[in-house]
């Protein structure tokens, strides 16, 4: 009985920390109050929105493959969860990079709807 409690507690603690890519889709959809569209996400990701870069400038138009930083040329591992199990597993990291990369490409933060759309598209990639 004691062991079961310990195991349950450990599992709970672990699940509170590590997150799965789908959790982010759910969270952004909830924040947006609307369903996500993978098609809209693809368009958002691959087109420039007034700035010098689009998301694809560094993550490529097919994020199942590795990218390169548009300015520094440093290699970037694939962004799609199906190609890279490390992606979208830590909320602090996901929030930090959405903040930075949206600022760099749009000169503003991304809306919850935009993030939900991008997530839906990335999750659909195989």
């Amino acid at each position: 009985m004691r062991y079961i409690l310990i195991i349950a507690a450990t599992l709970f603690a672990a699940s509170a920390q590590a997150e799965a890519p789908r959790d982010f889709l759910a969270r952004f959809e909830k924040e947006a109050g609307a369903a996500a569209s993978a098609e809209r996400g693809a368009r958002f990701f691959t087109t420039k929105q007034g700035g010098e870069w689009s998301c694809a400038s560094c993550h490529t138009e097919k994020p199942m493959q590795a990218g390169r930083h548009a300015k520094t040329d440093k290699a970037i591992t694939p962004l799609a969860p199906a190609a890279n199990a490390e992606r979208f597993t830590e909320a602090a990291k996901v929030d930090k990079w959405f903040r930075r990369n949206c600022n760099d490409t749009l000169n503003r933060l991304c809306s919850a709807q935009e993030k939900a759309d991008v997530m839906a598209w990335l999750l659909a990639l195989r």
Binding site: H69, K71, T72, D73, K96, R100, N103
Partner: protein, 156 residues
């Protein structure tokens, strides 16, 4: 007797002891620095800028060479402390401009210019190099702190 021979002897011993370290800019281990400052580019050696330059850079991370590199306050302070502690020594030379303002780029320091004076403007602009800040394009072992002539290859 002592005072006449001790300094040269000391210099000789230092020279014998140092070669391994002389041009070694390996980055001291620091988890936060590795995680936050090597994601967009290689980890630049803290030894290549003085403390004032690092402080100025770390004070404006949301406008970091045209990129948003902003951090939470806890990490920002921890990394600033690390950089300041490991910052340059005598060999680094001056890392301020003529007006005394701290330089933010290693590639704008006098020491960098001196070490790279044989490289022409057209070379820096090659597609395979892109920017002087792309040390690894020519110094294959830069990430390990090795900028030695033996491991240099300028890409076409």
């Amino acid at each position: 007797m002592h005072s006449r021979f001790a300094p040269p002897l000391f210099a000789l011993l230092t020279a014998l002891a140092l070669p391994v370290h002389a041009d070694n800019y390996s980055v001291p281990k620091n988890h936060a620095f590795e995680e936050e400052c090597a994601s967009c580019h290689m980890a630049y050696p803290p030894q290549m800028l003085h403390a004032d330059s690092w402080r100025a850079m770390m004070g404006n991370l949301s406008r970091h060479f045209g990129s948003d590199a902003s951090l939470d306050e806890k990490r920002r302070t921890a990394i600033t402390d690390f950089l300041v502690t490991q910052s340059g020594g005598r060999k680094t030379g001056d890392t301020r401009d003529a007006r005394g303002t701290p330089l933010l780029r290693i590639t704008e320091t006098a020491r960098f210019a001196k070490k790279h004076r044989e490289i022409g403007a057209a070379t820096w602009r090659r597609a395979s190099i892109k920017s002087p800040a792309n040390c690894t394009a020519c110094h294959a072992q830069a990430a390990a702190g090795d900028y030695n002539e033996r491991s240099i290859r300028i890409p076409k």
